[in-house]
Amino acid sequence: MMPLVDVPDADSIGAEVVLREVSVAAQRKLGDTGVEKTVLDTTKLHRHVANSLADVLTEQTTLFVKSYGRGTESTAEFRGTSASHTQVVWNGMKINSPMLGTVDFSYIPSYFVDQATLLHGASSLNLTGGGLGGAIELSTKPDFTTKGWKGMAVQGVGSYKTVDDYLRLDYTTERWSSSTRVAYGHAKNDYEYLNRDKMVDERDEWGTIVSSYHPREKNKSGYFDDVNAMHDIHYRDERGNTLGASVWYGYSLRGLPFLSVDYRDEAEFCNEHREETWRSVVGWDHKRRLYTLGVKGGYSSQDIAYDYTTTRQTQQTDITHSRSRAQTGFTTVEANYYPLSNLMMTATVGGRYAKVRSRDKSPFHIGDNYNKGRGEWDAALTVRYRPWQRVSLSALVRGEGYGAVVVPVIPAGFVDVVIYKPWNLVVKASVARNYRYPSMDDLFFQPGGNPDLKPEHGFTYDGGLEWDTKGRRVRVKGNVTAYDSRIKDWILWTPNAKGFWVPSNVRRVHNYGLETMHDVEVKLGRQWLAACTMNYAFTPSINEGKGVNSSDASRGKQLCYVPRHSANIGVRLEWQGWRLNYSWVYYSERFTTTSNETQYITGRIQPYFMSNAMLEKRLPLRRVELGLKAVVRNLLGTEYVTVLSRPMPGRNFEGFVEVRF
């Protein structure tokens, strides 16, 4: 997962992939001691502008992304944990919703991220607390290498009345770097599918059913309009100072698709979600020979509106009418100190204040759900030490708190040992305790919120091998990691007898398994490059809680919607400006009940394989470079669902025209 060497960005203008000569015996970074991580660079992130980060995570990592199509909520889970156990940091700011504790990756255009670093399990503590499954660090990186103006415009048109637009404009001087990106995505998303959940009966004149068939229907209310705009500006001087500011605005209007078992008329209902988000971060970094210092601050606001209305009456009638606003301010200070060449110390301290106001009208509630503010803080101290050339050790203690609650000290230890230098073969291990405190909805949402909830907590043990070796034409890197994690007081929302949902600390979950990733790049002559990435995860995620009562058959069962096996393969071929990408994703059977019922057809989601392909041609012209891309999703036209009663689209297409200068 962790590259031992820097990989050039092959997505740069006029990219002809040339693998840089590197020393395979390069010293490992002390800061990465024992860390299990996956780095996604622009080669993987910037395939095409229609991709969200959810798509990239699905196709190129071992994370399980729960989604039911483009323009719908997409959450990512590490190692069979829940979506709220994935902490996400964007340019130093934690962007997990203070209300839900989760991040919807469908709102993050992949072109708005220049690097995504996935920190698995205990490794996430090097970034932030609360990542019981892991953490993802998203970055936009200033590019001081190419001076002057640089731009990129993309127009995409695809199936189901899909339009994607992207514009990026950069200006760089020796000291300044400015980058502006705008993305717009729109689709009616009314794909047709064979609805196997319904049946049309044909009757004779006496009303007797003479034949039946599954109808072909269109996805109803699946439309979306997403707009995102981001501006990054950075200034650097020769004394090691860098000042940066990033502002990200997003607006989204999305219809919530009807279930395949809904018999109502789309024209008479509006089931719509709107979201407007502002995120801004300013930072100062100072680098000296023996230390670095970084200070960051930021603010984000998230306005969410959900309306479910009908015109079935004489006037429009609200069924659900929900509004919420979350505002968050944060600041962090991080200092790294290198007193010796084999010793590194890191200290971080941060504070965050979140204020949420949530109101709604629903069948179970009218009025304020809650109007609360909450302060959160964290502090961490890490010491990394390399006593021998091949052995690195790291120890971390982290403290966290929210409101008046202070969670117990979070310790973590990491070690790695280079056991075979020519292959950079490293064995690594870590152990950590971790906590995730309840989200504000968990605590305060009315009706149902439970202020007595305790933080979820557990121990995680990781161990594995990592390698990275390169010959004249071939580079091979990969890793294999085994992990074992036990999470107690897992928060679960269940409906109570009156019909609304209530969270409680009911579960103990044992996650264990295996993750492995393999990257192979082969240079075939001057013009050819072939690359292949393979990920596989074996993810038992077992509920070991004693259950709500003796009838509870969920003990010892796999958690809902977590596949025991998942895999993906990405193949890339490049030749004289042509690029072919093929991706294949596999999820094994998933259960939809906590007791893993198999006697019901609705008790499980069938395993499925998914294939996507992209063909690209770059045409260098005199002043600009033209790019043409064609994307085929669901290449084999597989009928499948990822979530119960949510059929997915069949084979569909999108074409892109790209201009770079």
């Binding site: 109502r264 009638t317 069948p363 409906p495 259950g547 009838s551």
Partner: protein
């Protein structure tokens, strides 16, 4: 090659192919259990439980129809062999055959004017039914037979700033009561002749959740009291139980329950003389009680470590009185159903679908008009057109039986009684012959000729494998041609004829009771005596002696003697389960699951007619038939053994 391999695999996975299963359900009726499923998952399901064999089939709707039931199954209603299932978040009401589970029709929101989220179905007649709605301020009217929309009733409930919820419905005379649950505090009164809301009853507590009408015409309503979990509280979270006079619509009793998060539900016993109240535990109280019971009738199970099971769904079998309770466990796995006897003993426990919330009890074949007799009449399938005599022996099922209600008005004459029986036969409704010897005499519109080897006659009863009440069939040829049944009766020989189980020339005399609520004494010509017990739980009428049955004086009081044959009483009784076993004879008797009985229809041959001495009668045709209760018996839990008849038909392929 890799792509090809993936492609082949892709073709094999993804979506499971469906198929349609055929189900063999219990002839005596079963229990349909609606499992709500999870909101927005489309995994509502239907389970079927055979109370006799104690086996359960899950997901029967999907298995029978190769389609999903939908999202959030809300309620199920059964009548005359058909079930209506309201699936709220799918906007659909299904009509299915209650025995095969096959879809017979559907009413979707789009086919109506105002339906949004259908909640409950209530049948007004064979051609009219109401559907309530969670969001719509209208009650939808549809034809439950054709599943077509008729019109809507405006409830006048608010649509802005609140909800227009209407929920359960109970009928009382021409009125239907419906409760406004979501944010509401009213019970609306609908005149079913006007199809309009004509009144409302305002309650002191929020969110009326469940309703029943008892035997005293009192409407019982329980509220959940809203919720109270912090800011934004609605109501005081204290459920109330109300007793309301259905006629005056005045609240007579308002009982406050403990604050709780329980799913409150109401049900009655079959006679509607006792009330079941679910509020964490299950309570039982008499409908005349003025106070809530202090102790639960059935406590929700509590595990050894103190974890308590939360009860969710509640249903009472209208025939057996068995109580069914659902436990949703964690609402995301197979729920558990527990079955209790009327005595509160646990009979069974089984797994169903997710969140069992509703129970509906299918009629036995005998209870259901499998064919439409009135239509059959036009086709010549209904064989009889005149009832000459209806002379039931005493019995609690004859008139005023709790499950069926009054059949014949007080003071009715023999003619009125016979007309009522004929009407019941045309509609496929039950007629009880009372205890041993009770009989009915019917005449055919035209002579029924002997098919010599073929079955000539079909009589429908309501036998269960564990509950057979055999009737002996007699036939008569109109020898004198006067059109009256005044010639010679010939018994149709059955499997027991000529054995020790069968007695010819049997006479039994019943003595008319002299005071209300008395057992009815009998003596027979074999030296036997006994009583037909008065069982108020089955029939609370003062007397089981019918007004049109004339009694004659005797030294022991007014009496009536019935003459015919007798079959030996074979029943056994298990006190621990309070259940009786009444096994069938091999063949030749109605209301008896013999080899000649299918779907409760017993097939008979004129060739089996014998003379009083047991010789073949050699009849070429018959004009009259008499059916009499065969056994002299009485079970502790069910009372006297009495043959039931639903109709007399000509055999036809549709009945085989």
């Amino acid at each position: 090659m890799l792509l090809v391999a993936f492609g082949l695999l892709a073709a094999c996975v993804g979506i499971e192919e469906g198929m349609r299963e055929d189900f063999a359900t219990n002839q005596g009726g079963g229990v349909l259990i609606l499992c709500e499923g999870n909101f927005n998952s489309g995994n509502a399901s239907l389970s079927y439980y055979d109370p006799e064999r104690r086996v359960v089939e899950n997901g029967v709707f999907r298995r029978a129809n190769d389609r999903k039931l939908g999202d959030t199954g809300q309620s199920i209603t059964v009548n005359k062999g058909k079930a209506w299932v309201a699936v709220e978040n799918s906007g659909i009401v299904w009509a299915i055959d209650a025995k095969t589970f096959r879809v017979e029709g559907q009413l979707t929101a789009g086919e109506t004017e105002h339906m949004i989220n259908p909640r409950f179905v209530h049948l007004i007649s064979d051609t009219k039914a109401y559907v309530t709605d969670l969001y719509s301020p209208y009650i939808t009217i549809f034809n439950p037979h054709t599943m077509t929309y008729t019109k809507s009733i405006a409830t006048g409930q608010p649509t802005q700033g609140g909800y227009a919820s209407t929920e359960e419905m109970v009928g009382w005379g021409k009125y239907v009561f419906t409760n406004c649950w979501s944010y509401g505090n009213k019970v609306l009164v609908i005149d079913t002749e006007l199809d309009a809301v004509v009144d409302s009853i305002v309650l002191s507590s929020l969110q009326p959740k469940s309703m029943v009408v008892d035997a005293n015409d009192k409407l019982w309503v329980v509220t959940d009291g809203g919720y109270s979990t912090g800011s934004g509280t609605l109501g005081d979270n204290v459920p109330h139980l109300y007793r309301i006079d259905a006629a005056t619509r005045q609240v007579e009793l308002d009982l406050s329950l403990g604050e709780d998060e329980a799913n409150v539900q109401l049900a009655t016993n079959p006679r509607r003389t006792a009330l079941y109240l679910m509020n964490n535990d299950l309570y039982r109280m008499d409908i005349t009680d003025r106070h809530l019971p202090l102790w639960p009738w059935i406590e929700a199970p509590v595990d050894a470590d103190g974890r308590r099971h939360k009860l969710y769904g509640l249903g009472v079998d209208p025939k057996s009185g068995d109580v069914y309770v659902g436990d949703a466990v964690d609402y995301a796995q197979a729920g558990v159903v527990m079955r209790y006897s009327q005595g509160g003993d646990k009979i069974d426990e089984f797994r169903v679908g997710i969140t069992p919330n509703g129970f509906a009890f299918t009629e036995g074949d005998a209870d259901v008009p499998q064919d439409k007799p009135e239509e059959e009449e036009g086709n010549g399938l209904v064989l009889v057109d005149t009832i000459y005599e209806y002379m039931p022996a005493p019995g609690h099922q004859v008139n005023g039986y709790t499950v069926v209600g009054d059949m014949i008005r007080p003071g009715a004459t023999m003619r009125e009684a016979c007309d009522t029986v004929m009407s019941h036969f045309r509609q496929g409704h039950m007629v009880s012959l009372g205890a041993q010897g009770g009989y009915v005499v019917a005449g055919f519109r035209e002579a029924l000729t002997n098919g010599h080897g073929d079955y000539d006659l079909v009589v429908r009863g309501n036998p269960y494998s564990y509950q057979n009440e055999p009737g002996i069939v007699w036939v008569m040829h109109d020898d004198n041609g006067d059109g009256e049944p005044n010639d010679t009766w010939y018994e149709l020989r059955g499997s027991e004829y000529g054995t020790d189980n069968h007695t010819t020339g049997y006479e039994i005399t019943y003595y008319k009771p002299t005071a209300p609520a008395q057992d009815i004494r009998w003596t027979d010509n074999m030296g036997g005596e006994g009583v037909v017990p008065y069982m108020a739980m089955w029939n609370s009428h003062d007397s089981y002696w019918q007004d049109w049955v004339e009694a004659v004086p005797s030294p022991q009081g007014l009496c009536r003697t019935y003459r015919g044959s007798r079959l030996r009483d074979m029943h056994t009784y298990n006190p621990s389960t309070n259940m009786s076993q009444m096994p069938p004879y091999a063949w030749g008797y109605t209301d008896n699951l013999g080899s000649d009985t299918e779907r409760s229809h017993t097939y008979l041959k004129i060739d089996n007619a014998v003379t009083a001495t047991g010789e073949p009668a050699n009849l070429e045709a018959i004009h009259f038939v008499r059916i009499q209760t065969g056994q002299t018996g009485c079970t502790p839990n069910l009372g006297e053994i009495s043959t039931e008849v639903y109709g007399i038909y000509r055999p036809s392929p549709s009945l085989r």
